[in-house]
Symmetry: D2
Subunit: 427 residues, 4 copies
């Protein structure tokens, strides 16, 4: 029941019952699995028709069906090695065109007056960077007119028209961006991202079955949770929503239960810690025994950047006797390149040893409440110590504390931390 | 975390927490959407490997990928109008063969020693009724041997070999049956049915957002809930599990959170009412002013049965002045046939009027606790009355009370009943 | 070798052989099976690059890949019963967009500078009749500009933009129409229709293995051969080409051998008879013993037209004693309706008997030379008589003589006629 | 018309007309494109039913539909890097199972009593080499029984059962092998390979439009024509047919016209030269100035073999002054490895120079008549000389003369040779 979702979780006017819902303007984005086959498309249309019957005004943003974008990319790869950008975008945007037409047909069957709009028709003006275009401006005149005429506009996700009048594609995850940008441009009450999971969890339920779906999460927290394995709206769209104050609701197109709200507000009663995440996709490089000169770190990380290696956590201890160790993490795929790059510098830097370790994991505790609660890091370290888990590296942000541990201890670390911070569901 | 699921929700406390799990033997069935594409298959393999690493022994039962069975049926329909049963089963069982081979490959990548088994190889002996065969016997010798050798057997769902040595298909939903029958034959601790929803809800979350996922439900209750729109393991498999005492766990292959357990036991603290369901798929036929002779009802329902019309609820009021009204519900698709059939009898029966009404809905309150709690029906009627909803027909079973109401009041009825019986989630 | 095809088969001897080809402007249309998968698309691109290297200028018109249009129609049918025309055209035109983008990518790999154009971009203006729009005007300015810049334009078949700025679809077979209309608008030397067969045959090779591929055929002949089972460019496109004097070349995208030219010219040496066809898709209706009044036929065929029954051959014998028989053929699917319609008129017309016969076949001898050669019909009748095949009905056009015979004698009739007119290949 | 094909092209009893065909036992193999979609499957069934109605007895061998095998391989690659052979064969053989079931259904609609057989059921016993198994024995008892019962057996191509009772796949092109082996085992009159081209051509029609379809070709010639771009029945199957005396007929499932017969016999009137082929897939390596010691060639080609490089043509000129040049061709993909390998030996061999040339082509003249006609090579060299085409290398077999020329002159070479040997069609 759509209108409730706007009201209740945000704490506005919980009282008023089912009979007198506030009317909301909602942008509802349906991802690939949500419209993956005819039955699903009809289910979505049925759901949208319930929302409209209850008085909400809705604008749909639809992705290509199921894995169609992947299949189109594969087709292109099977056909061509050059793959000119203009043609790639002509190809890939065909997927969303199919989806919006089909969704409109299903809505027509459900008794709604719906109309499909390509990115261009919906007013998405982009730059000319094919296959990964950026939105320059949204001019949703036709969408507004359709809403005023009582129609349900259905907009193709992840596409626009460039300033040179060519079709452009916004890249993977671009439908989320389309939805958020449209919600902003229309002044919608919320942007609902329907997906195949029921929300954001306090940690990965595969690791901790007691993991609890969060009723809400702040933008800052969600942006820190990129590695949780839970639903991942495209980071670009979350940042866009954060910057423009668009309220998000990440929820399920399978169970239709309320999901997780992403908002700016920091409610009073908010728990200190919101979520535990872990990430096993990185490896560690250590440069040991480096003379502690100015410019040493700059030398190392400039060289890595020149090789295209993305470095995540960096830790440098205070030097003793003018000598220090520098450790950092890189994606597994880049470990070999990173080691080779630093090896070349070893002599120049005067380092004693360069070594790599692929078997690490980063475990993080995330929570907006950490800003005002200094004890979280200490509790985290104690909890790991009690469980016999050694900490290899530590890094922090304002609302996150991360420890690098042995990979085979990572899931155990997540379990004990989830219990220590009492994040579990009560049942 | 697989082993927990056997323990906690059943309240059996089979051991201490995370640190010392009991080893369980689990049959895990993955439906079509769970293995719908390569990414999903790899995700399933990753999950299974976690279960195995934690000490569980698992046997997988796998359906055809995504909508493949539907596509094969459509292909057959495009090719042929005769569609001989033997060839249909040769065709359709190809879908599960593909799936088991791919799952085994992904498990091999995850470091497990897996081996695929067709229904025949897994020991499923069926009768010779093609496209809808019944299991006569399960002789899982090769599955047992594989388990003892430390391998993960991956069994094709919904297939077997007939007593005439032809390939047979168990019909739609047959993978659930395969899983349950295998769990019984192997004496497994539980049969987990992984699907695209996270469990069974107290009512449809599209109608009542506060709808709560049930931690457990009894077989009797689940069998009464066939029309809830929530996850529907094939009824045949639920009945099989009920009859043979196989514990089911209906859960999500997307969020991997614990789902809903289906068991025999009736725990002490069980709520009186478990779920509210509604069904808009039926229409009502009324035969008014029938002289109250013996055999009248028999005449009507024999005639309907001869026409293949499936009748659900039947209500006959006490006669006044030797005259009574008989009403019953039939599927919408059968309304025309039902009316025509009864019309032909009108004169013979001496009925005053025969009428049909397609705009009805059945709303049901379901709960094992109703057996010992007589007030449920009264509360239901009062709640509907207070909401101004008129009751048209009433029928009951030991654990269910159903009212037929106007279709446009059905969702409102579900909402007020869900609130009245306090089934909602606390948040 | 593309340029040869313009020259040789037309006997125009446009120059010396291989070493000095004349440059031609060709519109090459590739149907669905010709671009049915990545390998085929690369094969087409290789072929086109050979044509361009030899100096031809080419414009491609491309259909949706393989059976994609059917699949999109099926998807729409699975999703919706209403299927609004505007959305249907948005959906279906996605197929050709994919195909043109992929063909351009393959051409880029083959070293050609290619650019894709939707129907709208290529200047196809249509009326507003969705799913079956008619071309109002072709303004191929961008195509001409691309050709002058040395590029290979690749145009989406079967689509345009309506006078109300909506995407329109030209209907099944519309790619042929796009190609012919573009050839006319550009003044191309020929329009090549690449398909999965190697040309038009003198009769169905399944019936007569000696059937010979025709080097050329006249428009009139081809239009009479609609039922031959041989390659069938959409009739609308053949009529368009006929009307506008566009030379067609029907040929194979699999063997790439020269196919069948379709032209206006009636060469001197042309055989009297070109082809034998047969058609088993019709049934016969006979109205026997009708009083021979004016307006009787009009009454019958107006009634049939009002029921939407398409009547093909009509035969009425001279009346004897003021009474006549009228027979006509209709598609099998319409036989029941046709019989019912005429039955209703029987009394009014005073007819003695109305009967239907589904087991007929029409066998036709087709040839432009029949215009000046009166003996063809006689030879046809004699040949059938010698073979013991009874003739049930006869109808003729200027270049065709058709006989209705028993269906089980149809193939035999084709065989003896093909031999009698010496149409067979010499080997 | 199937029975004719056995008679006429083999020169047996041409006289007897349509009315009294000899009954033949035919194995008809339908490749992927021939059964690529429902319409094609129904077309095949219609064709087969004509054959049966005319008295032929047929056994079908069917490949997986369209590109299904490729899709299954891709799925496997998307799912797994290990891809165990047993599971790969379980996966891939599902494709043919689908196809045989569908073909049987279509045959049932066409009124035939058909029955599908997997490779195992058809009696194909193979070794245990998964994904590329070899046939050890064919025991077609069930196929014979079905034929005797008047049924049409439909056998899954490219599959069998190993001596360890696992499902095995015979590798790409394995359906041809299945068909040939079955024709041998059943003593069939011919094995018809239906494909998407109409036969074997005298050269590539893309290069020489006058290229003519050959009515017949000898096994030796066909085996020499591997690089012609024309229909390529799997070499393994041609060799098998050659060895076992199985007559092949390569023909079209699209036009159904008679194709090319492959037989042992060398008819009197056979042309000296049958076909011209060219191959641009190889590159040339030259080792110049090698001292002419015994063992030099052995040293080079052993080293290449150890690296897995397949060498085709090798040419060594007579040495002058104890020094010689050795040239050889390798696939383009192996050029870099071949050059590196020989570079390493340069010093040891005392060679002056090692060089590679990717821009070569091999043009070949093929014909059984060359055995008794010494002038062919001379004509070939003269023709190329007159056309100004330089010959770089020459190699010959009993029925083939090949010249390596500049790649950009290859198509011209084919054109002049095709004309010189008068291979063109007369029209």
């Amino acid at each position: 029941m759509c209108q409730r979702l706007v009201r209740t979780p945000l704490g506005r006017a919980r009282g008023a019952p089912v009979t007198s819902p506030a009317v909301a303007l909602l942008v509802q984005k349906f991802g690939g699995t949500s419209v993956g086959d005819p039955e699903r498309i009809r289910t979505v249309a049925d759901y949208v028709s319930r929302c409209v019957r209850r008085g909400d005004r809705v604008v749909l943003v639809v992705s290509a069906m199921g894995k169609e974008t992947e299949e189109l990319l594969r087709l292109a790869g099977d056909v061509s090695t050059t793959r000119p950008g203009r043609e790639m975008d002509m190809l890939i945007t065909a997927g969303e065109r199919k989806a919006i037409a089909l969704v409109c047909m299903a809505l027509a069957d459900a008794g709604l007056d719906a109309e499909s709009y390509t990115g261009s028709q919906a007013g998405f003006i982009t730059d000319t960077r094919h296959t990964d275009a950026k939105i320059l401006e949204v001019r949703p005149d036709r969408i507004r007119a359709a809403l005023e005429a009582g129609r349900v506009p259905v907009v193709a996700g992840a596409q626009g028209v460039s300033t040179e009048n060519d079709v452009t594609f916004l890249g993977r995850g671009g439908s989320d961006t389309t939805a958020v940008a449209l919600a902003k441009a229309l002044g919608a009450d919320a942007c609902e991202l329907y997906t195949d999971v029921s929300g954001v969890f306090t940690t990965d339920p595969r690791v901790v079955p007691e993991a609890k779906k969060m009723a809400k999460v702040s933008f800052d927290e969600l942006l820190e949770m990129t590695s949780t394995g839970c639903p991942k709206p495209a980071m670009r769209s979350v940042e866009y929503a954060h910057r423009h104050g668009v309220t998000l609701h990440i929820r399920s197109a399978f169970t239709w239960e309320p999901g997780t709200w992403v908002t700016e507000e920091e409610p009073m009663e908010h728990a200190v810690v919101s979520a535990i995440t872990h990430d096993v996709s990185e490896a560690k490089v250590t440069v040991a025994g480096v003379p502690d000169h100015p410019g040493v770190a700059a030398r190392i990380f400039r060289a890595l950047a020149d090789e295209g290696v993305v470095v995540d956590t960096i830790v440098q201890n205070t030097s003793e006797a003018g000598v220090t160790d520098i450790s950092f993490t890189v994606p597994h795929a880049d470990l070999a390149v990173a080691l080779a790059t630093v090896d070349c510098l070893q002599e120049e830097l005067g380092a004693v040893r360069v070594s790599g370790d692929p078997d690490i994991a980063r475990v993080s505790v995330i929570g907006s409440g950490m800003r005002t609660n200094p004890g979280v890091a200490a509790t985290m370290f104690e909890t790991l110590a009690e469980a016999g888990i050694n900490i290899d590296m530590i890094s922090t942000s304002v609302i996150r504390t991360s420890c690098v541990v042995r990979q085979d201890q990572a899931e155990r670390a997540v379990q004990v931390l989830h219990a220590a911070f009492e994040l579990g569901a009560p049942y």
